[in-house]
């Protein structure tokens, strides 16, 4: 390795990484600084005011709990919907594989807000879903779906579903079919072959998919805004409101930091639990 080549590498990296440092890493420090300020709008001053953290935690503990529950439930439902679909595309897709994958990412081709507003129409009080549920008496005569946890979780599940499907598909696709055939040659049933060969080999995709679904779901405020009401507000809604409406910047910044920390801790525990080699497998492979 000549030092010239190394210099070239740094020259290629520099512009992009500096942009990320200046506009991703540095702003986090400023948010930290803002979160420790005291005072009122127009005159916020730095004061190591840690009370912002304890205050925002106790003021919004309900939203924190709700956010966590909604995001976990949405992620689990997305997993249940996504796995068989990814399996079908990977192993049974045949020549329709690309068309099916296109259909999976198709929702991304319409504006996120419009997609969510479309769900507002679908789940609306006069929509066919509410009508159908009333007919089969799953919903009372004055029952509604909008402004319920069900609607918000349904929206979260729908909007982040492709993030679950694609990594699972990618890991299933990579499985060597001959391993599954070998299991069957060795007298395993289709069931056993799935549970002991296919499923473990697809775990990296499952771990990546659940993370890619959980993280944006936990930070989302669009679904709760359009499909819920004040009593379904998530942490994202409060952060948005505090920053852009109430302009209580220190509390807002403290709340953002707490949320980021909570998500990081949850992700860290999850990766510990699920096994990090499952997730980082590609990295080492790519580094060659």
């Amino acid at each position: 390795m000549t030092s010239g080549r190394r210099l070239t590498a740094y020259a290629l990296l520099a512009p992009g990484l500096i942009w990320l440092l200046l506009f991703f890493v540095v702003p986090l420090f400023y948010m930290g600084e803002l979160s420790l300020r005291d005072g009122t709008l127009g005159n916020f001053y730095f004061d190591w005011n840690f009370a912002n953290y304890t205050d925002s935690l106790s003021r919004f503990d309900e939203q924190f709990l709700r956010t966590f529950i909604y995001a976990v439930v949405a992620t689990l439902i997305a997993l249940v919907i996504a796995y068989p679909l990814a399996y079908a595309i990977a192993f049974r897709g045949g020549r329709w594989k690309n068309a099916l994958l296109l259909a999976v990412v198709a929702p991304f081709f319409t504006t996120y807000l419009i997609r969510t507003i479309a769900w507002q129409t679908i789940l609306g009080d006069n929509g066919f879903v509410v009508d159908a549920l009333k007919t089969v008496a799953l919903l009372g005569d004055d029952g509604r779906l909008l402004a319920t946890p069900t609607a918000v979780i349904a929206g979260l599940t729908y909007n982040f579903l492709p993030f679950m499907i694609l990594p699972i598909y990618a890991s299933l696709e990579r499985i060597d079919i001959r391993l599954i055939e070998a299991a069957k040659d060795l007298y395993s049933s289709a069931h056993q072959a799935f549970l002991r060969v296919t499923l473990p080999l697809s775990m990296p995709g499952v771990v990546a998919g659940t993370l890619l679904t959980f993280i944006p779901a936990a930070g989302d405020y669009v679904n709760a805004f359009y499909l819920g009401s004040a009593s379904q507000a998530m942490i994202g809604n409060r952060i948005q409101g505090l920053y852009l409406v109430e302009r209580d910047y220190p509390t807002a910044a403290a709340l953002s930091f707490t949320m980021m920390l909570a998500i990081l801790i949850a992700v860290f525990i999850y990766i510990r639990f699920a096994g990090s080699e499952a997730l980082m497998g590609d990295e080492t492979e790519e580094a060659t």
Binding site: R6, A9, L12, L13, G16, L17, W19, L20, F23, F24, V25, L28, Y30, E33, L34, I81, P84, L85, A88, R92, L100, L102, A103, V104, V105, A106, P107, F108, F109, T110, T111, Y112, L113, I114, R115, I117, A118, W119, Q120, T121, I122, G124, N126, Y158, R178, I215, P216, G219, D220, Y221, V222, Y226, G236, I239, Q240, Y243, L244, S256, M260, E286
Partner: protein
């Protein structure tokens, strides 16, 4: 009865797949259908009757046109910048050994794993502290920032499956490093770069959360929708969304088609040969000269 059961067992998963795909497409159908709606009041939520009016007058709302043009301009500039920066990073990561690779990888992955609210809020915090006026520039900074990582991931995946022997051949035939890059590397990489650029463009034009925090008075297409949703979204928005959808699908299909063409052109990859071997784990031997013809 047992034959029905056997058929179901065999095809059940495909039936499920079709149902799941249908579920994913429902909102898209709703958007397209409601672009032909003739709503009685300001809200386009219940079906009132069919009209072509809102398709004939798609561009009749000046604020909506401005927002759309703003979005297109922002997305175009942010795509150019982020695609260049991201491609350079991908080249460095795949082709060079250097100290700090893990840190660089980490810095690229972490923005994709950060909730958008946090990215939007922290950028806004910085702009507030410096008293920077929010608008086009702050949005451009933000959009380039969140697009770079995705560009890196897409271009890197192309580079990893890249056959270096073509470049070596060019060098053997006397081409200098820059000529080789221009005439061999870039054309072969082009599909990956185009795919990355399309992704960056789509991410930018669709971004709501980060823009919501950093736009100030500047209005993009999603921000127009957000503002209008309080007082009733014009039906024209649904028509525009449908147009955007169709354009994106065509662009996507063209890219995939072009990528496959490029793959066929560059199909001298050693692992293709290895496919014929009966063993899974055999490390692919470098192909004998001339063996890569088929």
């Amino acid at each position: 009865m047992s034959r029905v059961w056997a058929w179901l067992r065999h095809n059940g998963i495909m039936i499920y797949a079709v149902a799941a795909i249908a579920y994913m497409l429902i909102p898209l159908v709703v958007i397209a259908v409601f672009s032909f709606n003739d709503p009685a009041g300001k809200f386009n939520f219940t079906w009132e009757g069919f009209t072509l009016e809102h398709w004939e007058n798609v561009f009749s709302i000046p604020e909506l046109n401005d927002a759309m043009l703003n979005s297109l301009e922002l997305a175009a500039i942010s795509t150019v910048i982020s695609t260049i920066l991201g491609t350079l990073i991908a080249l460095a990561l795949v082709r060079y050994e250097f100290f700090g690779r893990r840190a660089a990888n980490f810095l690229i992955v972490i923005p994709m794993a950060t909730p958008e609210v946090v990215i939007g809020a922290s950028l806004l915090s910085m702009f507030l502290i410096y008293g920077i006026e929010l608008g086009f520039t702050t949005l451009l900074i933000a959009h380039v920032m969140f697009s770079i990582s995705f560009v890196v991931v897409v271009v890197r995946s192309r580079l990893i499956g890249f056959d270096r022997s073509l470049e070596e051949a060019a060098r053997d035939l006397g081409a200098g490093p820059f000529t080789t890059f221009r005439l061999v590397t870039l054309p072969l990489l082009a599909p990956g770069i185009i795919a990355a650029a399309l992704l960056a463009f789509a991410l930018s034009i669709d971004d709501f959360v980060i823009s919501n925090f950093n736009a100030g008075e500047f209005v993009t297409f999603p921000l127009f929708i957000f503002g209008a949703s309080q007082r009733g979204i014009p039906v024209e928005v649904y028509s525009l969304a449908t147009i955007l959808f169709l354009v994106s699908v065509v662009a996507m299909v063209l890219t995939v088609w072009q990528q496959r063409r490029a793959e066929r052109l560059a199909e001298v990859r050693p692992d293709d040969e290895a496919e014929i071997e009966p063993y899974a784990g055999t490390p692919a031997a470098p192909p004998a000269p001339g063996a890569a013809g088929g």
